[in-house]
């Protein structure tokens, strides 16, 4: 985190000190605080800033209060001479501030409660807003970003196409030549690649980009130069640009690497430059960018995404229309078929980048706003109690000539002061929360590297803080001012009816609060159920502790099936020789890491007209079933000697042999030709957790001729202890084999559910906060109510009311508010359910159980909150209560 938010907060807090010290010593204080911060971060790392603030913030507040009190007199309650007649607004405010700070200091419990409640809510709102701001609101970090478009191809004959769908090189090339509203139309792709560093292979995330990409984005390298169009010529010279981070980590930030050769996927690239640290395209994962010289031109590989910059003098909308009107013929590789016609679809780049997270972020923003609202209601309630107990003070002031406007102004200033204190603590909190959010957020959230509490966010928070202060202050202020100012003096505030309207207002606020909290808890419940459901789903195999890894073999050294088989045999033999290893196997696919599909033809099965006969397939060694724990249901599993056989899953058996026995049937399975079904196994959720089972086939490794295999290792002990020996085995066998993605299946599961976890954790946190705040709210109102009715309760007791009855009535009153709030909340839940539907799995959007759980949680919390004042009410001693008059 940069120093700026710290400095701003420090400056804000310094305003607690008298102006003279600020003027004379302010700069020095700032310098010293920075050194304190540095020292604390050296000692405690990330937590250092918090440690420094824990020392600094209370010190500034305490010193400020002490000095300001001393200046007028010894006591915080000393009288401050009010400004003279004809005093300006500023004088009034200054005078008010002095009075307010003293009166707040005199009531530390109240002040702390109000400040902390607001700090929590403002901090959370600021943190979420910093994400929304960076991802959705800030323009993309390129020159004239509004002129950048994301483009896709539109297949004119078939009326198909989408900006998110990749195109083949010939389609890109044809569109690039034909379009004219764009200055540049660039193409790019991103993926895992094998790189050689000091002779050892490893996997890295690389991008492929035409030279025009950098011109379109108008970015310049930090060191060296960009590559030109000549590096995009097929089989011409090839170039690579390194990302700043990759250059620092892998090349020790050595500027002399420019001009050297870098090997990616067995091709040599000349390093032409290093990009600046803030360049992250398509996202922050990209370690380097390759020119197009070695990329395939095949019309059958759809791997490029397109980006363009609109020409000067052309409107963006106009450019999009003209791209849509194109008709470009692209030859395919079937000489007999007519060329296919394409036009280009385009949307502003920013829209394409945020498309899949926009709604989710807005939901988070709405949720955190609800938390903020709940917190505000609590503080309003706190302020109302305070205003009531100070009714006499206002009456005296009014009697001494204070106008109604002055009273309102004073009360509003007070709540703004409280809110600013809350905002200041909130900003510090937001710094921590934002760091936490970035660490927690899944890769799918774009532009994470841009998330920070910057000037824009701080302005938002300041505005938010002041508006919160005004809103919170106005309600009690108007009430206090509108109460007949004389009455307070006469009889104290025991008038039974005077409190009625007041009580209604507060009860209304609690109902609103409960309604909001129910909606939040309901949403959190749905998302938590989704997350838990995904983790708990029956995956059809038992392999949480199986270690998995991917390998990438260099084709030069392993050109054919026999050399690859020999290598894998050698490696597996040594892996099986490790003491803890129970079994090991190969497969073409890692769990939750994509899938392969092939067309299926089955003798005796006639597909319906629109039915596409497809099956997912995995090429596996015989040990795979045992290692991953997939038991056979019928028939048998294959052995080392089997060829031209296949094991299918239950869904495939049910789909294609609805009333027959698949065993022994002959099937044509895509690239594997004719094979015989020899066994049926359980359905597994192996490729995707959240999709329904689809037909799946397991093909023996012998007939597979697969290139790079994945290893599965079942260990008798802790699988993580195998990581080092397995890496050593590979290193000793061939350093040019890249080994990556080493983790257990449980860890894979954890990664694959990152989105759901993010949503569940975030809304769960909001829900829990809402519950806590609502609990405090209910407690506050009931406790206040009991306090006000001490006399009435005393009379009731004196007249023979039973303690149990009083307890039941007080607690019952609290539960009544919760019931009403829940009822209103139910309507909110109905609406929210439609918003959340897209993010749910395994749970109905209008799940009555989630609603019941939310309501029950609130009712239980309210019961607990009402119980304490209820006990107090029941214990009222009639004598004491009556004598209190």
């Amino acid at each position: 985190m940069s120093r700026r938010p710290h400095l701003l907060l420090h400056r804000l807090l310094r305003h607690m000190l008298p102006a003279r010290i600020r003027r004379l010593r302010g700069d020095e204080m700032e310098g010293t605080f920075l050194r304190l911060l540095d020292a604390a971060e050296d000692e405690h790392g990330r937590a250092g800033a918090l440690a420094a603030w824990r020392r600094e913030a209370p010190d500034l507040l305490r010193t400020g209060l002490r000095l300001r009190c001393q200046r007028v007199g010894a006591s915080p309650n000393a009288v401050d001479p009010p400004p003279r007649k004809r005093a300006s607004m500023v004088d009034h405010v200054r005078h008010d501030l002095r009075v307010i700070i003293r009166s707040l200091a005199a009531d530390p419990g109240w002040t702390t409660a109000a400040v902390l409640t607001l700090a929590l809510a403002i901090g959370a709102t600021t943190a979420i807003f910093s994400v929304v701001d960076a991802v959705l609101l800030e323009p993309l970090p390129y020159e004239e970003p509004e002129r950048l478009l994301a483009a896709g191809a539109w297949d004119i004959a078939n009326e198909r196409g989408d900006v998110a769908i990749s195109v083949s090189f010939p389609v890109y090339d044809a569109l690039r030549r034909a379009q004219e509203p764009l200055e540049e139309l660039a193409a790019y792709d991103q993926g895992d690649m094998t790189v050689l560093i000091d002779g050892a292979a490893e996997r890295a995330s690389g991008a492929v980009a035409t030279a025009s990409l950098f011109r379109a984005l108008r970015v310049a390298p930090e060191i060296g130069g960009l590559y030109g169009d000549e590096y995009d010529v097929e089989n011409g010279p090839a170039a690579v640009l390194l990302s700043h981070g990759f250059w620092r980590q892998r090349f020790s930030a050595n500027a002399a690497v420019v001009g050297e050769t870098f090997v990616v996927d067995e091709e040599a690239y000349e390093i032409v430059g290093v990009m600046p640290p803030d360049f992250a395209f398509p996202d922050k994962e990209a370690d380097f960018w390759l020119s197009m010289a070695r990329q395939t031109r095949s019309p059958n590989f759809f791997y490029l995404r397109m980006l363009g910059r609109v020409r000067e003098g052309t409107g963006t909308e106009q450019a999009i229309d003209r791209l849509r009107a194109l008709a470009v013929d692209v030859p395919n590789d079937h000489p007999s078929r007519a060329p296919e016609g394409y036009s280009a679809l385009a949307v502003p780049l920013h829209e394409a980048v945020v498309a899949h997270v926009e709604q989710q972020l807005l939901i988070f923003m709405a949720a955190v706003s609800a938390v903020l609202l709940i917190a505000c209601i609590n503080v309003v309630n706190l302020a109302l109690s305070r205003a009531t107990s100070r009714g006499k003070e206002y009456s005296i002031r009014a009697a001494l000539g204070a106008t109604r406007a002055r009273l309102v102004q004073q009360l509003v200033t007070e709540s703004v002061v409280v809110s600013i204190a809350g905002g200041a603590v909130g900003i510090a909190l937001a710094g921590l929360l934002t760091d936490w959010l970035v660490r927690l957020s899944p890769v799918s959230v774009p532009r994470q590297e841009e998330i920070s509490i910057d000037g824009g966010v701080l302005i938002f928070t300041c505005l938010l803080t002041v508006s919160v202060g005004v809103v919170i202050g106005l309600m009690p202020a108007l009430r206090a001012a509108s109460a007949r100012l004389g009455t307070g003096l006469r009889a104290g505030s025991h008038g039974a009816s005077a409190g009625r309207a007041h009580q209604r207002l507060r009860s209304g606020l609690i109902v609103a609060q409960v309604a909001l909290a129910v909606v939040l808890l309901f949403s959190a419940g749905l998302l938590l159920q989704t997350f838990a459901g995904l983790l708990g789903i029956d995956r059809g195999y038992d392999a949480d502790e199986v270690l998995t890894l991917s390998t990438s073999l260099p084709t030069a050294a392993y050109p054919d099936f026999s050399s690859r088989t020999a290598l894998y045999d050698r490696v597996l033999e040594r892996v099986d020789g490790l003491p803890e290893v129970e079994s090991s196997a190969l497969s073409t696919l890692l769990p939750y890491h994509g899938w392969s599909r092939a067309a299926v033809r089955i003798d005796g099965y006639t597909p319906q007209d629109d039915e596409q006969m497809m099956a997912e397939y995995l090429v596996v060694t015989p040990q795979f079933f045992g290692t991953v724990g997939i038991p056979p249901l019928s028939g048998r599993l294959f052995t080392e000697r089997d060829d031209d056989v296949v094991v299918i899953n239950q869904t495939m058996a049910r789909t294609y042999w609805p009333d027959g026995n698949p065993l022994g049937a002959r099937v044509t399975l895509g690239p594997f030709g004719m094979v015989t079904v020899i066994g049926v196994v359980n359905d597994t959720r192996y490729t995707r957790l959240d999709a329904a089972e689809s037909p799946q086939a397991y093909v023996p490794y012998r007939s597979g001729d697969a290139m790079d295999m994945m290893l599965f290792i079942r260990s008798a002990g802790d699988p993580r202890e195998l990581i080092v020996p397995i890496r050593q085995i590979f290193a000793a066998t061939d350093r040019e084999i890249a080994v990556a993605d080493i983790m257990t299946i449980r860890e894979r599961l954890w990664h694959t559910t990152a989105n759901e976890r993010f949503r569940a954790v975030l809304l769960g946190t909001f829900g829990a906060t809402a519950l806590l705040l609502a609990m405090v709210g209910v407690y506050g109102v009931i406790a206040y109510n009991v306090g006000q009715r001490t006399r009435e309760l005393g009379i009731r007791k004196a007249l023979g009311a039973d303690s149990g009855l009083i307890l039941r009535r007080v607690v019952g009153g609290g539960l009544g508010l919760v019931a009403l709030g829940s009822l209103i909340g139910a309507a909110g839940c109905w609406y929210v359910a439609t918003l959340l539907e897209a993010y749910l799995f395994g749970v109905e959007a209008r799940d009555p159980w989630a609603f019941a759980a939310a309501t029950l949680a609130l009712a239980a919390a309210a019961l607990a909150a009402a119980w304490i004042p209820g006990r107090r009410a029941a214990a009222v001693d009639p004598l004491v209560a009556l004598r209190a008059e």
């Binding site: 420090h10 807090l13 310094r14 607690m16 000190l17 003279r20 010290i21 004379l24 010593r25 700069d27 020095e28 204080m29 310098g31 010293t32 605080f33 920075l34 050194r35 304190l36 020392r55 600094e56 913030a57 209370p58 010190d59 500034l60 507040l61 305490r62 010193t63 400020g64 000095l67």
Partner: protein, 114 residues
């Protein structure tokens, strides 16, 4: 000035400056170290105390941060300041004598300064 007792923080500042001149951050470290961690000022209390001591003439600004503005100014104890430390120490000794005479302190180590 003169009769009013020094606050613990001011006393610690003067004691620290008796050795050598220091700037704010070093002073903060010194005070924390010599008080055994019982006095841990933040910048607010530290500079409020420094300003008060400056106003009372017990310390003075030694050099106007010519080297670098970020390091801040160095503070040095004045003649008056040294005298105030001695007076304060005398007062403390008197208090300590009274306490010891009445046998209120089991061991005289304790946190005499507080």
């Amino acid at each position: 000035m003169g009769n009013e007792p020094l606050t613990p923080l001011s006393m610690h500042i003067l004691l620290a400056l008796a050795d050598r001149r220091m700037h704010g951050y070093a002073l903060m470290q010194a005070v924390e170290a010599q008080s055994g961690g019982t006095v841990r000022p933040g910048t607010g209390s530290l500079y409020a105390a420094l300003q008060r001591l400056l106003d009372d003439g017990l310390i003075a600004i030694a050099e106007e941060g010519a080297s670098s503005s970020r390091r801040g100014k160095s503070y040095a104890i004045t003649e008056l300041g040294s005298r105030a430390v001695l007076e304060e120490a005398a007062r403390m000794r008197q208090v300590l004598t009274l306490v010891t005479e009445r046998d209120l302190v089991p061991d005289t180590g304790g946190r005499g300064a507080r």
